[in-house]
């Protein structure tokens, strides 16, 4: 400062404002309506005997249901794995300067996004009608290994193929969006340091693209968990079909559908938490991330425990 004048200090802080708040009667009316509706729903869920909560509890941990749950998780994990790998590959292909490579990727995405998954699943299930024998060999030449399509493509394999290949098309667009969201200057910097295109993609571009890729991928995984129930139409005994098999015999339709829904919700909740931590991991360096809910609870417990000694 050039001048030596000091700014006169305030004598004291002015009083905090205490004003009469605006009345919001609409809010109160709305709250009352929500409350009434909520109570009505809970009451009917508890008192309506048709829910047959006892039966739900009976079947929740039934061996067949748990086996169905396992198949559902397997389907989700494998199909999503195929989808992600395929998606990364297709996205990189689509961004390739080679015209043929990028068109092949575009064509794949166009085709698999353009047809319903249910139809694709039925196609794979009936693949034997199209190609009774599947062989491995020289293109247009002799084949070395032959297999019967019906034994090779089991219902489970058909479900994996249908769900995974379809997912690849969607993941490709998600990954591509992530890659082009990264500043091109990052690739310039990496290449100026002597990294090859592959190293640049793997070490610099993809880790940054992850921040954009993860949230929609979480969505896709949750959606896949539920879409896998479509495999019930091609006799894969996943969660839904397992419960359908039971209620087709004992006609306790609603309780078994509730049991299935319960497990779907448990799985999606687990995925939701997983996504939160994954996003945090890939958000490093982006901003101050703060504590996780778990860390906050632990910190809270510690401070409570320490208080008496202070």
């Amino acid at each position: 400062m050039s001048s030596g004048e000091a700014i006169p200090e305030q004598a004291g802080r002015p009083e905090d404002i205490t004003a009469v708040p605006v009345r919001r009667p609409g809010r109160w009316v709305l709250a009352a309506i929500v409350l009434v509706v909520a109570v009505a729903i809970v009451r009917s869920v508890v008192t309506n005997p048709n829910f047959q909560w006892g039966v739900v509890g009976e079947y929740l941990f039934d061996g067949r249901i748990l086996h169905g749950l396992r198949v559902t998780i397997e389907l989700t994990v494998i199909a999503m794995g195929i989808g992600i790998l395929l998606g990364v590959l297709l996205a990189i292909m689509r961004l390739s300067p080679n015209w043929l490579v990028s068109s092949a990727s575009s064509f794949y995405i166009w085709f698999f996004r353009g047809t319903p998954v249910l139809v694709q699943l039925l196609f794979w299930y009936n693949i034997a009608a199209l190609y009774p024998k599947i062989g491995l060999g020289i293109p247009f030449g002799p084949a070395f290994i032959h297999a019967d399509a019906n034994t090779l493509i089991t219902p489970f394999a058909a479900a994996i193929l249908g769900l995974g290949l379809n997912e690849g098309a969607y993941m490709a667009e998600i990954v591509r969006a992530g890659i082009i969201s990264v500043d091109p200057g990052q690739a310039d910097a990496a290449q100026s340091l002597g990294m090859t295109r592959l190293q640049t993609m793997r070490r610099i571009v993809l880790p940054q693209a992850m921040r954009v890729i993860i949230p929609p991928t979480g969505n896709e995984t949750i959606s896949m968990l539920k879409t896998s129930s479509l495999a019930s139409v091609i006799v894969v005994t996943e969660l839904l079909y397992a419960s359908q098999l039971i209620y087709s015999v004992n006609f306790k339709t609603i309780p078994l559908l509730i049991a299935a829904s319960f497990w779907y919700i448990v799985c999606t909740s687990v995925l939701y938490v997983g996504q939160y931590y994954l996003e945090r991991y890939y958000g490093r360096g982006a901003r101050d991330r703060g504590a996780t809910p778990l860390q906050r609870i632990r910190a809270g417990l510690l401070s409570v425990r320490h208080q008496p000694s202070q």
Partner: protein, 254 residues
Amino acid sequence: MTPPMVKAEAVHKRFGRLEVLKGVSLEVAAGEVMCLLGPSGSGKSTLLRCINHLEKINSGRLSVDGELVGYRQVGEKLHELREGEVARKRSQIGMVFQHFNLFPHMTALDNVTCAPMRVKNESRDGAEARARELLDQVGLGDKVDAYPSQLSGGQQQRVAIARALAMEPKLMLFDEPTSALDPELVGDVLAAMQQLARDGMTMIVVTHEMGFAREVADTVVFMDAGVVVESGKPADVLSDPRHERTRAFLSKVL
């Protein structure tokens, strides 16, 4: 006689129909500091990007340390270099960007060790020891664990300089290294560059910092509309420009 570190002969570069470089010729000797001046759009940055083959030139000859950039000459014919060879040559040329382009998902230390470890396969211990030394040199010894978002622009740019130096380049290219900085942060970056020049590094600097050009540069080159208008010692070009266009430009920036 040793060949010049950089030699450009009638270099042309087009982006579609737009001709950005229209026959640029210049030489930079080993250990020389050259400042490229000129209005925006004159092709200075493009020339830098051509020197480490981030852009391909359309005609002319461009060589670094006696070797053609991006090609190998066999008889009369030019053969394109494979990607690995281009990458290896780039690794010997450091580049500093206007917008720093630090890797935001890595700490300052990891930014500096990344290329030595991945490109030169150095051990982590060796790379880290050297990275700490370099960060210390640019005055950021206490910021090794900071992420770029936690650093000021000037600090980020100095990490970027350390990152480029970690590859032990024989040539450093600076593309308007202080243009994106707040005025009070420019000094530290220029000081780091000046120290580098004193240590004998060959440098090509695109800049609008006339003070830096006058004090540090051995040669000043003025470019306009894709050609070199004039070049010479900073005292001559900056104080007594011969061309009207140079005079007009300098009267605006000084």
